[in-house]
């Protein structure tokens, strides 16, 4: 429970900091900290059901601080979390570079799906070259921040781990590929 609360707190804090950061730098150059926290959680979470609830909560929190429809980020966060969980079982994401590339890919696809959902519900969301360019910058900036954010998630997760055995052994909880 402590771990869930700590990670939820970290996710909400990431959102708030991201909102403040957006006033200082242009939107594409602002990393998607909340999504990176979710990716960090997805790399470590053992129970898929609990993680899905955490993802949907963070998604709804994002929706409240964003101009999106309520549920839009919640839906995509579910997919992002499940996708990260599956990828962590199949790929070796333990190094900084693989993780950065993976996170950049997640952010880029997330943006495309967001545009598609907005187009479906609201309309007027055509894919433009300029938009793709700024989305690519956003994905790269986010990817560059991914290893640090993932390490932070690991620290918070370790600190708040309810299992004292994990804490005393200092286990790195990132899953190894099967």
């Amino acid at each position: 429970m402590k771990r869930v609360s700590a990670l939820l707190g970290l996710g909400v804090a990431a959102l708030v900091v991201q909102g403040a950061f957006a006033t200082l730098v242009p939107p594409p150059a602002c990393p998607d900290l909340a999504l990176l926290v979710l990716v960090g959680i997805g790399l470590r979470w053992e129970s898929l059901a609990g993680g899905l609830l955490l993802a949907v909560f963070l998604g709804y929190a994002t929706d409240l601080l964003s101009g999106s429809l309520l549920g839009q980020h919640a839906l995509l966060d579910l997919f992002a979390f499940a996708g990260t969980g599956i990828a962590a079982r199949q790929l070796n994401l333990r190094g900084s570079w693989p993780l950065a590339f993976f996170a950049a890919g997640v952010v880029f696809v997330y943006g495309l799906l967001m545009l598609a959902i907005t187009g479906f519900f609201v309309g007027g969301a055509e894919l433009r070259l300029g938009w793709l360019g700024s989305q690519l910058v956003h994905a790269l900036v986010s990817g560059a921040c991914a290893p640090s954010v993932s390490a932070l998630v690991g620290r918070v997760s370790g600190w708040a781990d309810d299992d004292p055995g994990h804490r005393s052994l200092g286990l790195d909880a990132v899953r190894r590929p099967a």
């Binding site: 900091v17 967001m114 609201v122």
Partner: protein, 303 residues
């Protein structure tokens, strides 16, 4: 059996949560089409947390930015002062001539009535956070229901239209900017009175869709609110035509507008404390429906 439950538990939960997200999206789309909503307490908590924290995080940077702007402004102030004095004299002269012309044509009373239309109480508010996602254009402001702000209130600056309040909590309000893809308002070209729809494109530009037959549109034309649509009052500046996207096109054309408001430097805004008639109709019908259910007299929603 427990093994089966364990195996299908997560996919079933995933499906249920995805369905819940889709249902809330559809319901939110409907409430947005009706001008926004006052958030229930469990949703408002997020805005209430975000406002003070974002205020603290951005305050030092805002301070430094303001000092730099003051320094730069001071360097230019002398030349600008001379320029402005000359401009003021020109405008005073032009103003006198216009007044004379208006008196002569008996339109002064109409002008006075128009001024009354614009005398809407305004609430100054500070922008404390931008949209956390780059795909949407909204801002978080530090005034909410406790200050009388309601979903559906237009938001402006001295330069022109900013957007519309779409959700409120007790001490915060989320405002959808004109730039957002979900935003569309009725506008007219000030010079030719050509009418059209101004739509957000999710970028720093606006799109003005107009019918060629209604009047001509040229680069440099100013587009203002038409007052139709019943959300924004007439005459607020929206932007300037930057280029025509398809000058040789058909009957329906699109022009690209540079917004009158610099959204990148949005700090202080004004919330118009009176909703347009469309918003009032929507909210009053909601209030009427509620009052029929609860057996009380209809009225405006509580602020």
């Amino acid at each position: 059996m427990p093994d089966l439950l364990k195996r299908i538990g997560a996919p079933v939960l995933f499906g249920l949560l995805a369905l819940l997200a889709v249902v809330t999206m559809v319901s939110d789309r409907r409430s947005l089409a009706e001008g926004g909503r006052d958030l229930p307490w469990w949703q408002a908590i997020m805005l209430e947390i975000a406002v003070p924290v974002q205020d603290v995080v951005t305050a030092p940077v805002d301070g430094i930015r303001e000092m730099w702007a003051d320094y730069v402004a001071l360097r230019e102030v002398r030349a600008e002062n001379t320029r402005l004095h000359a401009r003021l004299a020109e405008l005073a002269e032009a103003n006198l001539q216009y007044r004379e012309a208006l008196v002569a044509s008996g339109h002064l009373q109409q002008v006075a009535a128009m001024r009354d239309d614009f005398e809407i109480p305004m609430l100054p508010a500070e922008v404390v956070g931008l949209d956390v996602m780059p795909w949407f254009r909204s801002v978080l402001v530090d005034r909410g229901k406790a200050h009388g702000v309601q979903a559906g209130n237009p938001v402006i600056t001295a330069e022109g239209v900013v957007g519309l309040v779409t959700a409120t909590s007790r001490h915060a309000a989320k405002t959808m900017l004109l730039l957002d893809r979900q935003s569309a308002i009725d506008g007219i070209v000030q010079r030719s009175r050509a009418r059209g729809i101004v739509r957000g494109r999710g970028t720093d530009q606006l799109a003005f869709e107009f019918v060629v037959r209604g009047g001509d549109v040229k680069v440099g034309d100013i587009v203002i609110t038409s007052g139709l649509g019943g959300v924004y009052p007439k005459g607020l500046r929206i932007g300037e035509v930057e280029h025509l996207l398809d000058p040789a096109g058909g009957l329906r054309q699109t022009a690209s507008l540079r917004p009158a408001v610099d959204y990148g430097r949005l700090e202080q805004i004004f919330v118009m404390m009176r909703r347009g008639p469309t918003m009032d109709l929507l909210y009053d019908s909601e209030a009427r429906a509620e009052s029929v259910e609860s057996g009380r007299a209809p009225g405006r929603p509580a602020s």
